[in-house]
């Protein structure tokens, strides 16, 4: 167990998770501020944008942008929750007690959050694509990620493994 506790990979992973959470928090806060502020300063913003893109339609651009921001916040929220659960799992591994039912539940939750991310990705890509079209760019588009689906399946399988592991551990604890 001490081997696991000393594992550098765990420490690096935790640092990375903290880093991701920091980026997610900053990005989320920025998007939230934009959502609130943008409608109030829309005429000024449009005046600025019109110099570079004279054909922009302000009445249709604002709803597209706001939906991109809102869906972005939702995506970041899902990511944040996922990272919190991952931190709890890392902590349990560091304690040397990873095979507990709580971790199986956490992994299942991470799996569903990943499903959520895939689902939210569809309207987000559509809204972002529409907004990008208005600027004359069309590089954004949603494509089905095989890696994402594979990762989701792996997480659910891992959750099953942890559930069985927790059962075995409980049995071992009851062995005299």
């Amino acid at each position: 167990m001490t081997e696991i506790a000393d594992n550098r990979i765990l420490r690096i992973t935790r640092l990375l998770v903290y880093l991701i959470m920091g980026v997610v928090a900053i990005a989320g806060a920025l998007l939230a501020v934009m959502c609130v502020v943008l409608p109030f300063y829309w005429t000024e913003a449009m005046a600025e944008l019109n110099t570079a893109h004279p054909n922009l339609d302000p009445t249709t651009l604002l709803p597209h942008l706001l939906s991109v921001f809102a869906l972005g916040i939702l995506t970041l929220g899902l990511l944040w929750t996922m990272m919190r659960k991952l931190l709890a799992i890392i902590a349990s591994v560091e304690e040397g007690n990873p095979f507990v039912r709580a971790n199986a539940i956490r992994l299942k939750a991470i799996g569903w959050l990943m499903v959520g991310l895939q689902i939210v990705g569809v309207p987000l890509a559509i809204a972002a694509g529409k907004a990008a079209d208005m600027f004359g760019e069309s590089d954004t588009g949603w494509d089905l990620s095989l890696n994402g689906i594979l990762a989701i399946l792996l997480v659910f399988i891992l959750a099953g493994i942890f559930e069985r592991g927790a059962e075995m551990r409980e049995e071992l604890e009851g062995t005299v």
Binding site: E170, E171, G174, T175, V176
Partner: protein, 70 residues
């Protein structure tokens, strides 16, 4: 559970306390207590061997089976 542990009776017959048994079989008092109260889920052969050696009994003397319970 239909399988019962008769450690209490054996200890009484030998006039031995659980603490004394724990010291002699080198099993923690907590674990022996789990066994005595019937909360154990499994018992190792090595545990059975140590207890039977100290209490001079057979595994069958330690364990019983009562149908209908559990």
């Amino acid at each position: 559970m239909p399988v019962t542990v008769k450690l209490d009776d054996l200890l009484y017959a030998k006039r031995m306390t659980l603490t004394e048994l724990a010291e002699r079989v080198d099993i923690t008092l907590a674990n022996l207590s789990i066994l005595k109260t019937g909360k154990a889920k499994a018992i190792r052969f090595s545990t059975l061997e140590s207890i039977c050696k100290v209490l001079e009994c057979q595994p069958g003397d330690l364990l019983g089976f009562e149908e209908g319970e559990g």
